[in-house]
Symmetry: C2
Subunit: 148 residues, 2 copies
DNA sequence: CGTATATCAGGTGCACTGAGATTT
DNA sequence: CAAATCTCAGTGGACCTGATATAC
């Protein structure tokens, strides 16, 4: 029984990226599920920690999460007590989302999961190679982020 | 309005991989949809072209597609006339899937889409850098393929 | 007025799970 | 018997669309 992948797939970067993303979701998704969190939660908490309070629309643009999913994820984060949501008095269309102390602690927990997941996912690569990979992909991602 | 992504995300390889995969699906998915195809179709046709006729279980293992999705995708490929499906006389549990001439032509069409998509997706990278990226990711994918 | 924001309802592609029927 | 194969029904997370109400 031959289970090799087709050689042309193994030479196609877009397929390799997709397969790596699958592994990534398996590893990180399991850890996040155990913490009753999600990738959306992590991205939102991270953005709030780095840039401070923001409106939902801004959070969506910063994290690449759809406006519609931002609503749902913030509902969950809010009922868990990780963020506060209040109307902006200067522009009553907006909600101002603020990270709570509990939210900061949750982010630190999730950070450890993410850290461990990198280790597992990129186990075959040296630190220098991981740096290479990160720089190459960052250029690709930034290139497409500008085209919108 | 600040729309920068959090710096820690841009330094997290698993997130970069995921974002690149999203762009990849956008670009290739659109082309495949126009050809009434899918990523599953491409992978299956490619595997058949490289290794010849195979059972559905073998196809699933080679392409990383779930046995359940192999059934559905082959239904579509079969009604489109791109593959033949017949019972293996030596083991009547198995179906032997064979690529037709039309399937080979369809694969060539899809190949051109995939080729063009690589160009668009990895536009900011030189040929040498794309080679680097491919080699790094191939090692990651093969590492996780062995662990099953 | 047009634009931006927040919300809700739904749709899709992809990976996956569980169960059943058949054959080895 | 156990194990493998094929099939079907359904789940779930992530991404995306369209429509609505409100405020600027």
């Amino acid at each position: 029984m031959d289970e090799r992948a087709p050689g042309r797939l193994l030479a196609t970067p877009s397929w390799l990226v997709g397969q790596t993303a699958v592994q990534s979701r398996r590893i990180i998704g399991a850890a996040f599920a155990a913490a009753e969190a999600s990738g959306y939660h992590y991205r939102l908490l991270l953005s709030l920690a780095e840039f401070g309070p923001a409106s939902q629309a801004t959070l969506g643009r910063r994290t690449g999460i759809d406006r519609s999913d931002v609503v749902a994820a913030l509902n969950e984060l809010s009922t868990a007590g990780y963020v506060d949501r209040e109307i902006d008095p200067d522009d009553r269309r907006r909600n101002i989302i603020t990270l709570t102390a509990a939210g900061r602690r949750q982010l630190e927990r999730l950070d450890r999961f993410v850290e461990a997941a990198q280790e597992e996912l990129f186990a075959p690569l040296s630190a220098a190679e991981r740096g290479q990979l990160t720089r190459l992909l960052a250029r690709v991602v930034e290139h497409h982020a500008q085209a919108d």
